[in-house]
């Protein structure tokens, strides 16, 4: 088709006007408006759901806090909601979650960051292209599998090494949760490092930096925002992790720093009550919303801290 003919056809499509008009076709404008509306609705659903969840959490928690004071809840050291006398001191659960998350972070952060640095700066291109999808598959393994892995493999393996290790214990739970979130850190951090402009690396190499120095002094600082974001996401997931922790650490509210003992996390308690036959409207039932609200506050706090940290330390490239 000649150029001339194309122009003729284009004119025809524009509604037969003799001179090409700048007025958009009605149908297209309407279609774009409809698409825009649909996309907005999709976004609105997720925002409304989140608002709804928070509203329910707060509402049910308010009912709980009419019966148990906030101070008692936050500072109490005994958690026995399912026995008499009932105590609603959340510290044992909070400690359980923190303990598991610290162990998990202690494993996942160094190993995840190390893997990311290896993949982005040291691994040959072909190996990198093979390993990246593998990491992403690992990140998709259901968490209950990790729980089973902890109970049937990690704990028996550790028992001869760690005297006094109970069948259910915080250590194994922390380790498998760490292994579970490691691919997340490795993959997201690697993305961030890969996005650092090549010119920065060359600049450092030209000054006589080694590969390791380029990785640690240029690439890592420049990719810090993505790296810290991956840490926060991973720790948030560790705190929120439920099934693996229930299976590995058990359901014993226990205010302890001894990782060999069985503990209960915030999430594990919520599962325990949700699966039990707790009557709707009872204080035990309401307590899971208070625990949920606390979980939400902890995760939110992590995110706020992360943002603050980034603002302070980020090295942003152009």
């Amino acid at each position: 088709m000649s150029e001339r003919a194309i122009i003729e056809v284009a004119r025809g499509a524009g509604g037969g006007a003799p001179v090409a008009s700048l007025r958009g076709a009605r149908s297209r404008t309407a279609k774009e408006a409809a698409i825009g509306g649909l996309l907005f609705a999709a976004g609105a659903v997720s925002i409304l759901t989140t608002v709804g969840i928070i509203a329910v959490l707060v509402w049910e928690s308010l009912a709980f806090f009419r019966r148990v004071s906030v101070a008692e809840f936050l500072t109490g050291t005994v958690w026995t909601p399912l026995f008499v006398p009932q105590h609603f001191g959340v510290l044992p659960l909070l400690m359980g979650s923190v303990l598991v998350s610290i162990i998990a972070a202690g494993i996942a952060i160094p190993l995840g960051l190390g893997s990311a640095i290896y993949l982005s700066e040291f691994a040959p291109e072909r190996l990198r292209r093979f390993l990246k999808p593998v990491l992403e598959i690992l990140a998709g393994v259901p968490s209950v599998v990790y729980g089973y892995f902890a109970l049937t493999f990690v704990t028996p393996l550790l028992q001869p090494l760690v005297p006094g290790l109970q069948l259910f214990n915080a250590l194994s739970a922390g380790i498998v949760v760490g292994i579970m979130v490691l691919p997340l850190i490795a993959s997201l951090s690697e993305d961030a490092m890969n996005a650092v402009p090549r010119g920065l690396r060359q600049g450092a190499y030209a000054l006589g930096a080694t590969k390791f120095e380029v990785a640690t002094r240029v690439v890592t600082p420049a990719a810090l925002s993505g790296i810290v974001a991956s840490f926060i996401l991973a720790i948030s997931r560790a705190i929120g992790e439920t099934m693996a922790v229930v299976l590995a650490a058990g359901m014993t509210p226990n205010l302890t720093l001894d990782v060999r003992e069985s503990i209960q996390t915030l999430t594990a308690y919520i599962v325990q009550v949700s699966l039990g036959d707790t009557p709707f409207g009872s204080i035990e039932y309401q307590s899971i919303f208070a625990v949920g609200l606390l979980l939400f506050a902890v995760t939110l706090g992590m995110n706020v801290f992360g943002r603050w940290f980034l603002k302070r330390y980020r090295e942003e490239y152009a």
Binding site: E125, L200, G203, Y205, L207, G208, E315, Y317
Partner: protein
């Protein structure tokens, strides 16, 4: 072919012997033998894709970073082949610095940019002095002395490029390689870089790649004309631009092609 010979009196900063570079099956440098005299400016000119950057990267082993690149031949520096087995490319790059076409300051403070190189080799007690000296040499000190802790990315393009030069000077190299250092800059910033090159050559040997004939004529003592991986002519800049021996060179420098 007329060429520059200085090795007889021991004044060569660098000497290449039959250097060849291939990227996979594509031979980008086809056997180049040349000498770079000490404390002089040598310009590499030639049409796009003729191998100027590739040759320049042979001078400090930056080609090692290109996985597909294979270099053969010798590059002699103080009589030692840079490509000998025992030579550490990291040490080579410390002695032979490089400035790139696009200014690439690190997203760190101005001070940390200049201090980056020296800090790789321990914690020099006189770091402040090194930073100041390097910035003065790069003619940037007066513009940045009151904002040393500001992020380098807040500088203008020309200032960023001079910062990159200061950063390279901070490790006291003997040779400075510059790949089109002014091509991304406006004419005033570009003129400042040229002026700077003329000052730096008192202390350093400089090899500069440029597409700008006037620039090559203004700043360099010697000019090498490359064409599709071969060194066509290498002579006094004056000769290259006024009375080249090769017809090909003449056509290029007079703008008849390329």
């Amino acid at each position: 072919m007329p060429t520059i010979r200085v090795s007889a009196n021991g004044e060569a900063a660098l000497e290449t012997r039959d250097v060849r570079v291939r990227y996979g099956n594509n031979e980008a440098i086809k056997g180049i033998t040349m000498e770079i005299p000490r404390k002089r400016v040598v310009a590499l000119i030639g049409p796009s894709g003729c191998g100027k950057s590739t040759l320049l990267r042979c001078f400090n082993r930056m080609n090692d970073l290109v996985p597909s690149a294979a270099v053969t031949g010798e590059v002699l520096f103080h009589g030692e082949n840079l490509y000998a087995d025992h030579v550490d490319p990291v040490e080579v790059r410390r002695r032979i610095g490089m400035v790139f076409q696009k200014p690439n300051p690190f997203p760190k403070s101005i001070y940390d940019n200049v201090a980056f190189g020296p800090r790789l080799y321990g914690r020099p007690p006189d770091l402040d002095d090194i930073v100041e000296r390097s910035l003065r040499q790069a003619a940037l000190w007066d513009e940045v002395k009151d904002r040393m802790n500001d992020n380098a990315l807040g500088l203008s393009g020309g200032q960023q490029q001079r910062l990159c030069i200061a950063r390279a000077l901070a490790v006291t190299p003997e040779i400075l390689l510059m790949d089109e250092p002014a091509s991304a800059l406006d004419p005033i910033a570009s003129a400042k870089i040229e002026e700077l090159i003329q000052q730096l050559v008192e202390h350093y040997t400089i090899v500069i790649v440029t597409h700008n004939m006037q620039q090559a004529a203004r700043v360099s003592h010697y000019t090498a004309y490359l064409y599709i991986g071969e060194l066509i002519e290498y002579d006094d800049t004056n000769t290259i631009f006024t009375a080249p021996h090769e017809k090909h060179t003449e056509d290029y420098v007079t703008g008849r092609f390329g």
